[in-house]
């Protein structure tokens, strides 16, 4: 049928990855672009998230690396004049912008029509009040609740419902500002914070112990409806779905319950007239079957991305087609290619999603989880029984768990107590309780987790106990263990033997997993699907293993702080480069939020563990030409040496040389040999030695445990006392430490390299805005560098050349340097693609990953090792999610804390930086600023900028000494008391009443007093809690103020990426 298709469509991305809004939107946006391109519709994409695949060449026709906010969008609309706009592919950010642009009349003015779900429907689902009223009108059950705009209204609502109640903020993403409240005084406290983030709050009945179930439903313009998938949260109500362990399909619902909720889902989307995709969350009473509709999300979401990966149904792609007027029966099932897109997938496997939290990163062993999202990523495991998928998923988290049985060897009374509260390690605590003999029924009563799940977990713990009583393993017992999801490592641990022994024992006896396809129809129709998983619960492989030129690419695994969408970009681009060069590609990944796991990216997709055992399983079956592990970040890179020991052919730099770069001793010898400097360091195994060494080289020093890489548990230590404290924690665990000299006031510089057989093909040098001491993942990065001496650059290039030669680098590499007065020192060298690869690739308009892939394939390459001189500047800025991470100190340090990044382009660094800061959701100061500068040096260095702020007619508030200093220097400033001083005018009052627009809080690291640190911490914490922009680093604060002076934030240029690089 002929469609009246739009000609040009504006697609809104979701911006930086943050907790609650992550990689899933790169996936959904990419699919939307593909769906529109097929129809020859011109696509314009706005997304400052430079590491995404959707912003890469070959996707949208035009890309804007600009903030996704109404101000910028209006300018882009004015310039591009699209006739349609897609709002449901960029998370809550895009949806909120769509509502704002409609309200302000911009869309009407420029005749842009909202495609897909109409804006009225979005508004109805987003406002808690409209939502509740609408569902009540059609006779559907919602939780009892009241919305409130003031503290008084809130307390009244609390009384009427009865405690405990749930308090949540309207229009929230990832459940921010929502919590379970036990009593009136708690409610008071919580509401203050919630009302700071949103104009209205909702007080609701607390559905403690109810099951939480989700449906993903689809509707087209002809009112055809589908429920693509349902999901059951293992954690009952009270834990955000993003924080829950989730299985799909539901496991404990009867037919009646399943189809009753499905029916209600369909009634709901019909009522709201949704066109496209919609997520509906239910609470289901475990004893009566009564239900409540909790939430309706009229857009693609984390859950919809998960549902797509669970079922193989490309929800985002289909939703995009529906939004331009297709009906479901006009579209094909893209997996079978022959059957209709109007169908509900039948699964003959089950999938489990487990969230990944990074609390350890902030020194917290485990943390309570509840209705707010705190997890930073997730994994999904597929298999054919529950114990198998659970143990697979726990390994996939890459947090050192070999399976369900892991630690928490505590008395059962204590275990019973700690499992009562949902927390990030509860699953392991439950396993431990089972081992201690606590009954399934008891655990289910305590946790409210359905006993089915606990009983399934007991299969694992029972078998574990059985094995520990056996003298020797047998074919039968190993096979049984494998079916229950035990890894070779786990089995080896039980029998005190070696992983290799177990592996060869079982392989000899043909105890190997089989490969199964995900075909959406449970084998009812033949499918050409390339979507695969491994299981021991089966006897036959679904596919034949042909031995053409195949290459395995290992992707990133779960997103976490330190490894995110940038590595998905690298993996996808590697695959694309391989395919361009006529190689068949096999990709392994276990992260459902990625584009790399999309059905049409690679020739074969194994949704599997990135563990040595599993990679060897796949390698053994597929017998590929080689394997690439330098593009997925640290997880695949860490497998290099052990894979080589297993005679796996690795493409790129040899494992020998990877070892040379990773082994500190060997790397130091190499640097010494080629005459490149590095900060003094030593590995020390006693506290005494450590203290002596630190004193010898002089404080401050960087200290870290010797076994980890990439900034984990790393710290800059300024005094002996501090070092003592650090070592006391570690000594306990008998861990060796590495101490190195921390060089202050040095610049930090990154070199991203592609080399072939030791010869550099391409090298991009970029500089950090912040001085060394801030983790490179948290630093703002400028490319091309603006403030480096030519001499420094020359020296860095020389060092890179020598390192590349000596390590015979083939493929990608990243080297980090310190520079002070033209003296350079190497601080890190990774023979793999780095976080900055997508950034420099897009800035330089040269695909570093494609070149690296060609190098690894030994293709002929032109050496382009020239300085990349550009007419524009790009600045990459980190996105933090501190407001989500309760109690964490929002300050920059050597430990990485950011969850995402954005990058913007400009004619100069000020323009690009200002755009990028705006793109991380920071509001520009209108009236007031609070300045708190620790130490004389910081005060003096910031003086000029303080003057600028004052000249911009911003009222300056300052803490005691800073205020005095500013006044002495003829800058008008008013003093605010510190929080602990408990006197008015107090900082805390000003922050909570939002009387401050910007906080600049720079601590003096040389002068350390616990009280001051605590107080500064409180200022920073409150600033973040009340959603006020915060700068804690001197260099970035200075640049920000200089940028404000140089540019008017309201008049920044709007240029597409294409215009810059043309």
């Amino acid at each position: 049928m002929k469609k009246n298709l739009p000609k040009k469509v504006l697609i809104l991305g979701s911006g930086a990855l943050k907790i609650g809004q992550a990689g899933e939107f790169d996936y959904s946006g990419s699919q939307a672009i593909k769906a529109l391109k097929e129809e020859k519709i011109r696509t314009v994409l706005v997304n400052p998230n430079i590491a995404t695949i959707q912003t890469s060449k070959g996707f949208a026709d035009s890309v804007y690396f600009l903030p996704v906010n109404p101000e910028f969008l209006e300018k882009i609309i004015e310039k591009e004049r699209p006739d349609g706009i897609l709002l449901s592919f960029g998370g809550q950010t895009a949806l909120n912008c769509g509502i704002a642009l409609t309200k302000s009349g911009v869309l009407k003015k420029y005749r842009v029509s909202v495609l897909g779900t109409p804006i009225e429907a979005i508004e109805k689902t987003e406002s808690r009040q409209l939502f509740a009223q609408n569902l009540k009108n059609i006779g559907l059950n919602i939780p009892k609740g009241f919305s409130a705009r003031t503290l008084e209204e809130t307390l009244l609502a609390g009384e009427r419902i009865g405690y405990p109640v749930v308090c949540r903020a309207g229009f929230s993403l990832g459940g921010q500002g929502s919590s379970v409240v036990e009593n009136k005084s708690q409610l008071k406290k919580v509401v203050k914070r919630a009302l700071a983030l949103a104009p209205e709050v909702l007080i609701e009945e607390y559905l403690y112990g109810w099951k939480e179930i989700e449906y993903e439903v689809v509707r087209d313009c002809r009112d055809n409806c589908l429920a693509v998938c349902n999901m059951e949260n293992i954690d009952p109500m009270g834990v955000h779905t993003g924080e829950s362990i989730v299985v799909s399909p539901s496991q404990t619902l009867s037919n009646q319950e399943y189809f009753n909720l499905r029916q209600i889902s369909i009634e709901t989307i019909r009522h709201f007239k949704i066109i496209g995709e919609c997520n509906i969350q239910f609470a289901l009473h475990p004893r009566t079957g009564d239900y409540r509709i909790i939430e309706v999300n009229a857009r693609l979401s984390r859950s919809s991305a998960l549902a797509s990966k669970v079922t193989g149904y490309p929800l985002a792609f289909i939703a995009a087609k529906l939004s331009i007027g297709y009906s479901l029966d006009e579209l094909k099932n893209s997996v079978t290619k022959t059957t209709s897109a109007f169908f509900e997938p039948a699964l003959d496997y089950l999938a489990i999603k487990v969230p990944r939290w990074d609390f350890e990163k902030f020194g917290l062993p485990y943390q309570t989880i509840s209705t707010e999202m705190q997890s930073v990523g997730e994994v999904m495991a597929i298999g054919r029984n529950f114990p198998e998928v659970l143990q697979k998923a726990l390994r996939m988290l890459n947090q050192g768990h070999e399976g369900l049985i892991d630690g928490f060897d505590l008395p059962s009374a204590q275990l019973k107590k700690i499992i009562k509260t949902p927390n990030s390690k509860r699953i392991f605590q439950i396993a431990s309780a089972l081992l201690k003999g606590v009954s399934v029924k008891r655990i289910s009563e305590i946790t409210k987790i359905d006993s089915w799940f606990i009983a399934e977990m007991k299969k694992i713990t029972d078998y574990y106990q059985f094995l520990t009583k056996q003298k020797k393993y047998t074919k039968e017992s190993v096979y049984q263990a494998k079916q229950l999801g035990f890894s070779d490592n786990q089995i080896a641990g039980i029998f005190k033997t070696d992983r290799k022994k177990i592996a060869s024992y079982r392989k000899k006896r043909l105890v190997v997993p089989v490969v199964k396809q995900i075909d959406t129809l449970a084998a009812e129709y033949p499918a050409k699907t390339n979507y695969l998983y491994l299981t021991y619960q089966g006897s036959k492989n679904d596919i034949n293993f042909n031995q053409q030129k195949q290459v395995i690419v290992l992707a990133s695994g779960p997103y976490c702080i330190g490894s995110s969408v940038e590595f998905d970009w690298c993996a996808v681009n590697t695959v694309l480069a391989l395919r361009k060069n006529k190689y068949k590609t096999i990709l392994i990944n276990c992260n459902p939020e990625t584009v790399s796991t999309d059905y049409d990216i690679t020739d074969k997709l194994y949704f599997e563990e990135l563990s040595l055992e599993r990679v060897l399983d796949i390698y053994g079956k597929e017998k590929p030409f080689g394997i690439i592990l330098s593009v997925g970040g640290q997880i695949p890179n860490n497998l290099a040496l052990s894979l080589v020991q297993e005679k796996v052919k690795i493409l790129g730099t040899s494992a020998d040389n990877i070892d040379k770069a990773e082994d500190r001793e060997k790397f130091s010898q190499l640097l010494e040999k080629i005459g490149v400097d590095q900060p003094v360091w030593e590995q020390l195994s006693s506290k005494k030695q450590a203290l002596e060494f630190a004193q010898k080289i002089g404080f401050p020093v960087i200290v870290r445990p010797s076994y980890v890489l990439s900034g984990k548990s790393m710290s800059v230590v300024y005094t002996k006392k501090e070092l003592n404290r650090y070592l006391n924690v570690l000594d306990h665990q008998k861990i060796k430490v590495v101490i190195s000299k921390f060089i202050q006031n040095a610049k930090e510089i990154e070199a991203d390299i592609v080399a072939k057989k030791g010869k550099i093909v391409l090298c991009a040098i970029s500089e950090h805005i912040e001085n060394a001491g801030v983790h490179s993942g948290d630093a703002s990065i400028v490319f091309p560098p603006q403030k480096l001496y030519i001499e420094t650059i020359r020296r860095i290039k020389n060092a890179c050349r020598q390192i590349a030669e000596n390590l015979m680098i083939t493929g990608p590499a990243n080297i980090q340097f310190l520079a002070k007065d033209n003296q350079i020192k190497v601080i890190e060298c990774n023979l793999r693609a780095s976080r900055t690869f997508p950034f420099v690739s897009k800035m330089a308009d040269k695909n570093f990953i494609e070149l690296a892939t060609l190098a690894m394939l030994n293709k002929k390459l032109k050496v382009e090792n020239q300085i990349l001189d550009l007419d524009y500047v790009g600045v990459k800025v980190p996105q933090f999610s501190f407001s989500r991470l309760k109690d964490v100190d929002p300050v920059l340090r050597v430990e990485m804390a950011s969850t995402g990044e954005v990058a913007c382009l400009g004619d100069d660094v000020e323009e690009a930086y200002l755009k990028a800061v705006i793109a991380t959701d920071q509001q520009m100061p209108q009236n007031t600023v609070l300045i708190s500068l620790g130490g004389d040096e910081n005060k003096i260095k910031f003086l000029d900028e303080a003057m600028v702020l004052s000249q911009m007619n911003l009222k300056i508030y300052a803490t005691h000494h800073t205020c005095a200093f500013l006044n002495r220097n003829e800058i008008k400033a008013a003093k605010l008391y510190k929080i602990y001083e408990k006197r008015e005018p107090n900082i805390d009052t000003f922050l909570s009443e939002k009387k401050i627009d910007l906080v600049i809080n720079i601590t003096d690291t040389d002068f350390v007093s616990t009280k001051l640190i605590d107080d500064d911490y409180q200022i920073r914490r409150s600033t973040v809690d009340f959603g006020i922009p915060l700068f804690t680093n001197l260099q970035s604060a200075k640049l920000f103020v200089q940028s404000l002076k140089a540019k008017n934030p309201g008049k920044l240029t709007v240029k597409s990426y294409g215009q810059y690089i043309a």
Partner: protein, 354 residues
């Protein structure tokens, strides 16, 4: 105890017995339903069949009491699953699947690769098979050669009165599911449940006729076809469901044929050719109507969006309807429940008097 599932082509799947420890033979069919095993196992359409579940975990929510069954007892001849659940959890659960199977003397096998088995059935077509224990004393058995309907139908007419009901319908029992009866009663109808070979014309007073689902080859039940032919002649409003739709088509003069492996699932997409609207339906059938053989007084009403097969027929006056799917769900979606409403609308003509 070890059990084997043996197919007529010689394929053998070795697993563990978890039902009644006896041997059985029948037609091996698969269903891709992920829920609703208590409903399915008690559906008389499965009579004579060894049912293979493609969803690997079966028995998770146990077995509810009889009120949730589709007939008085378990109807399948045998069951094959990947993992049988011995730790069910549900507030309606009264027993485990294995104990229910044992009570009903139905053998079952677990621990086999039901996906591999399904692929075999899909590519080679439905096959005969048997579940054997160590004895292997049983022969293959083709249920489709028999009149299975006679084995599952009621023996004499029975009335279900609904207070205040204005209309009465006759439910021709070829192996009816309770949910069909309930859907009729729910809409205020009084229902005469009649045996498959009982001709109600001239004996009972009723306004319309429903032909139920049922097992096996529709061509076997010549008597039922003859009764329905009378209904067509009398212009009685008719609703045929699944097997009933095939009977209606045969009575109208059309032909039916055996599908390679049938439709047994809760996710079959159909399209209403009158309205162009699409629906997800619950299905369980091994035979289908050849739409090309329909007389001019009938036309194809629904088609399957996956394979294009006929999913429903309707007379030109719209009074006689047959649907290949199950509008009553149980198990499965009830998105096509409106078909019962249309049937009730059709009853607004004069009552047929004996």
């Amino acid at each position: 105890m070890e059990a084997k599932l043996v197919l007529e082509d010689g394929a053998v799947f070795i697993g563990k017995s978890f039902g009644a420890e006896i041997e059985t033979a029948g037609e091996v069919v698969f269903t891709t339903a992920m829920t609703g095993y208590p409903e399915a196992f008690t559906d008389p359409s499965y009579f004579g069949q060894i049912l293979v579940m493609t969803y690997p975990l079966i028995g998770n929510y146990g077995v509810p009491d009889k009120t949730n069954f589709q007939s008085g007892k378990m109807q399948i001849s045998g069951l094959a699953v990947t993992v049988n659940c011995e730790n069910p959890s549900h507030y309606q659960n009264v027993k485990t699947l294995s104990s229910w199977l044992k009570e009903n003397k139905v053998p079952a096998i677990e621990g086999i690769d039901t996906r591999a088995l399904t692929q075999l059935l899909r590519s080679k077509g439905t096959m005969l098979g048997k579940i054997i224990l160590d004895k292997n004393k049983i022969d293959f058995y083709d249920p489709n050669k028999e009149n299975l309907v006679a084995k599952v139908s009621v023996s004499k007419p029975k009335i279900f009165r609904k207070n205040g009901s204005k209309k009465t319908v006759c439910l021709l029992d070829c192996g009816y599911k309770r949910a069909i009866l309930e859907n009729l009663l729910k809409r205020g109808l009084t229902v005469w449940l009649t045996p498959w070979d009982f001709d109600p014309f001239g004996k009972l007073s009723f306004d319309g006729m429903v032909i139920s689902n049922g097992p096996g080859d529709p061509k076997v039940v010549k008597k039922t076809i003859a009764i329905v032919r009378k209904a067509i002649k009398n212009k009685t409003p008719v609703l045929g469901i699944c097997f009933g739709s095939q009977i209606l088509s045969l009575a109208a003069g059309a032909d039916t044929y055996k599908l390679k492996f049938g439709h047994r699932s809760l996710n079959q997409p159909v399209k209403d050719l009158n309205s162009n609207k699409c629906f997800i339906t619950s299905q369980n059938h091994g035979f289908a109507v050849n739409p090309k053989s329909l007389p001019s007084s009938f036309k194809e009403w629904f088609i399957n969006l996956n394979d294009g097969t006929c999913e429903g027929v309707i007379s030109s006056d719209g009074k006689m309807m047959g649907v290949q799917f199950h509008p009553e769900g149980c198990p499965g979606p009830t998105d096509t429940g409106w078909i019962f409403d249309e049937f009730v609308d059709n009853l607004k003509i004069n009552r047929l008097r004996p």
